[in-house]
Point group: C2
Chain length 419, copies 2
Amino acid sequence: MTEVCAQIRSMAQRARAASRPLATAPTERKNAALLEAAARVRDGRRRLQEENEKDLAGARRSGLPPAMLDRLTLSDRAIEQICTSLEEVAALADPVGEVLRMWKRPNGLLVGRMRIPLGVVGIIYESRPNVTSDAAALCLKSGNAVVLRGGSEAIHSNRALADLLSQALASCRLPADAVQLVPTTERSAVLEMLRQEENIDLIIPRGGEGLIRFVVENSRIPVIKHYRGVCHVYVDQGADPEMAVRICLNAKTQRPGVCNAVETVLVHEAETERILPGLGEALQRQGVEIRGCPETLRRVPGAVPATEEDWGREYLDRILSMKVVRSLEEAVDHIHRYGSLHTEAIVTEHYGRAQRFLREVESSTVLVNASTRFSDGYELGLGAEIGISTTKLHAYGPMGLEELTTTKFIVYGQGQIRE
Amino acid sequence: MTEVCAQIRSMAQRARAASRPLATAPTERKNAALLEAAARVRDGRRRLQEENEKDLAGARRSGLPPAMLDRLTLSDRAIEQICTSLEEVAALADPVGEVLRMWKRPNGLLVGRMRIPLGVVGIIYESRPNVTSDAAALCLKSGNAVVLRGGSEAIHSNRALADLLSQALASCRLPADAVQLVPTTERSAVLEMLRQEENIDLIIPRGGEGLIRFVVENSRIPVIKHYRGVCHVYVDQGADPEMAVRICLNAKTQRPGVCNAVETVLVHEAETERILPGLGEALQRQGVEIRGCPETLRRVPGAVPATEEDWGREYLDRILSMKVVRSLEEAVDHIHRYGSLHTEAIVTEHYGRAQRFLREVESSTVLVNASTRFSDGYELGLGAEIGISTTKLHAYGPMGLEELTTTKFIVYGQGQIRE
């Protein structure tokens, strides 16, 4: 075994050992550690920025684009945001120990399901240093130890942040090993991490499709992930034209580069005169390129023809494909054929079709008369988001604190035996 | 690709296609299909028994032990039991479409989580033909298509049963492909099944540890399983002696060969005189061999010394290891070190230690003053059991209909957009 492998293995074992006391740690102690971490990050701002400057210098040398440099920078504002996030997680309800429901069996046994942590979570992510503290905070609050592996371009910033978090844990009599950062950027370290199935219970990759595919293909540990967000808005027959325009514009242009932005708008054929032309024009006015089916091209001047590849593409840009469909069924079929199980919305005034869309579309978030941009842990009210899942095992859709837990059965008896 | 591989692939694709209409099928239609299946099994009893006789003849030729032959036999009583189980599943509540809870966001969005089927479930099991109908019934009721792969010794019985189930589906306008049995006993068929990650969402292996390890090591699809049940009863200081004896006897002897039978009893050192001797004697009177720690040997005449290997062994027999511990902490540590995350019980009259045991033991079922034998889907009130999980992702402990579902987010809006 190489030195790197031995190091990763030892980290995973220490994480497992730390997970036991953390699993039953009192809520107040976990909250105190989160607030202490926020205080230490605020106090350690200068030192953090010195370390961050090393990353930035490296990034400039290797020619990282300005947008990436921006995400990497720990400005005063970025550091304050990290502290606020830590404080916000402290303020969230602790899911651990919650009993979901209890029921009584005919023999008098009282049976319930109690939330417990998963154990050890591995997070593999790219560039942004705030993921280090955000992910660690959510794991800590849900009673899980965490092994973090950030991108090489942020290694100095991540190390400094993780050190502060570990120190905060220790100062609150919690195991410092509950937050550990892989201190090397060698790829063999990631591979070894993905082989620690005895000591890591779940891997969450956050980043581009390439990173995620690499993790899925090499992991022996269960992975929760989503590859892409190919989100749809279906404008139904009889929809409110003003609402259709407002929702499609927001879903496409409020932040085009994210996974819950819309990529395809489907319009019912009865609305090709009343809604489609105005909708197309409004999008174009916001600089959106429209790639349309033949019927769309007839109604939206300036639209370009969509090819078969356009359906199913995640543009992450001011580009949108548009298609006229004959019915709700055709819309649902199109979504199941080309979608990515992420997020879909219907704009409708029709009660029955609203219910049918909610029931029949199997994506992880389905909305009626609201923007796809609400598909997000904070916006849906989970309090935070550790990731999004488009696979159905364990969690489906945005994941918050509860999705970092499982439940065990607890039983209160009075001496019952099985007959 | 070999012919077998092509056949399995085609089956998995047809299961995926069948899963779509099944996911939104009305409850009444699913129930009608289950009742129709029960009627067809009753009417087809003679033919089933002819096919079963082929399996039995083969099993006798290959020298299967009598207990295995017994489990393989479709007697009139066994067939009636299959029909009753189908009718019982029809009577259970349909989990699909249930909305777990809804909450309102400050912007007026109404957000909820709706239960939906997982999609396609693969079940890989041994000998008993009733698993064919039981597993198919639970998958059908929860809206999942199922691909079944039973043991070679029951292939004729399983084929005949699966045919009747498919016919019942078709006669109720549900897709016949929603229940499919792998018609060959070649091992390559199992391997190919485990590679169908595009079309099968979950694999549940049911059988011995060898089968389960083979499935886990070869599957690209998530597997839910448990290897062993090394269950513990901890008899606390001040426990009711009569209750301690009753629970330990029941947990060991009511059915020693199953996974929720107790394998190790831990006794607090304060009870080595009041409880331990009588408990040991009562177990021995029921033919249980006791393998004990030195202190146990002093108190229980006839007990033999336990070796290090005895802690952590699943005897599945009238053998029990016993150990004296100094405290609740030592009991919990022993369980975490040697247990299998299956089921543990405490016998106690002390409020605080009861709560601590429930909180600190991380096994999937934890009981106070009740036999470990209650760790079972029916006994805990799930209505049925498709398997038991001792891994924490997705499900932990006995799994019923709900564990064959996931939830998607549904959102009712009035035109909201994200600011």
